[in-house]
Amino acid sequence: METKARDLYDSYLQKVKDHTIANSLSLIHDQEIGHMKLASEVITTIRKYIPDHFERKIKESLVDYLEKEGLVDFDDTSTVLISSDVEKYWKTNLAVLKYLVNQKKLKCIYITVNKPSFSLVEAFKREEIDVNNLYFVDCTTVGTEDSRKIFVKPESLSDISIAVSRLAENISEKKFVYFDAISTLYIFNPSDTVEKFVHYLIPKLKADKIGLILVAVKDEIEKKSLTVLTTFCDSKVEL
């Protein structure tokens, strides 16, 4: 994993000539080399002292976790804002999808703003999330489109809404939209534009009987914007 990271940043550093960007990438690159050393030490020690550790599989109790977080009553007209620290963000995504897609058997239209859908699908498969229940609006536009995946630029908010409608038309079962992450949309658009978009999207989805989960990474969003989004939603989950 860390070798891949080092190679990734190596390739960037060969291409990027802007000093400020290159310096930041170079710092990350150097830390990744340190990570390789640390990870290697950890693995060697664990293998030496607890050789069967890697055989252990510990299942997390998702229902317990989510019952505490208020998603048990989520249905096809619910609108929930999940506000998460970046440290908990990925775990939150997996937990919510495992619960709503695998256990509650809802279809999910997943709007991804900064992670290519093909890499998400690979990650979800590793976590045993049923990817057959997932459809994507992919704002990274990396990869190729198909019947379950529509590419939209993150600045084209009305196109995101149209793409959701197009995918939803072909899904007769109960479904919800998972917005990963609404906070990243603020990078590409002014705050008031994003908020007007969400204000428009929520009643539209409710009318179409489509649930909505907005994920906001706290470090990526102004407190004021988080408050505005909270007032639009039925409930807020703070992680």
Binding site: A5, L8, K15, T45, N114, A123, I187
Partner: protein, 86 residues
């Protein structure tokens, strides 16, 4: 030299790597590690004083989180800039 769009794609790819490929196994590792029987864990943390497993993995995780924040800040800067080549 890379174009603005090319750099945005690079930063998005790196963010995706840091937030998914790197973070998920680290979190899983720490979760599994804490489930190891207390006796075994004590052995790991104390018999070899130079090896502090949890501390080391947390450091990797914390720096990975920091990478994600730096990449997000760079992406914000590039998106909002008029500069076309980097």
């Amino acid at each position: 030299m890379v174009s603005k769009q090319e750099l945005m794609n690079m930063l998005i790819e790196a963010l995706s790597f840091e937030e998914i490929a790197a973070m998920a196994p680290l979190e899983e590792f720490l979760r599994n590690y804490r489930e190891i029987e207390i006796g075994d864990r004590t052995k790991l943390e104390h018999i070899q004083d130079e090896i502090r497993i949890e501390e080391k993995v947390k450091r990797i995780r914390d720096e990975t989180v920091q990478h994600s924040k730096v990449l997000t800040a760079l992406l914000k800067r590039v998106v909002g800039s008029d500069q076309n080549e980097y």
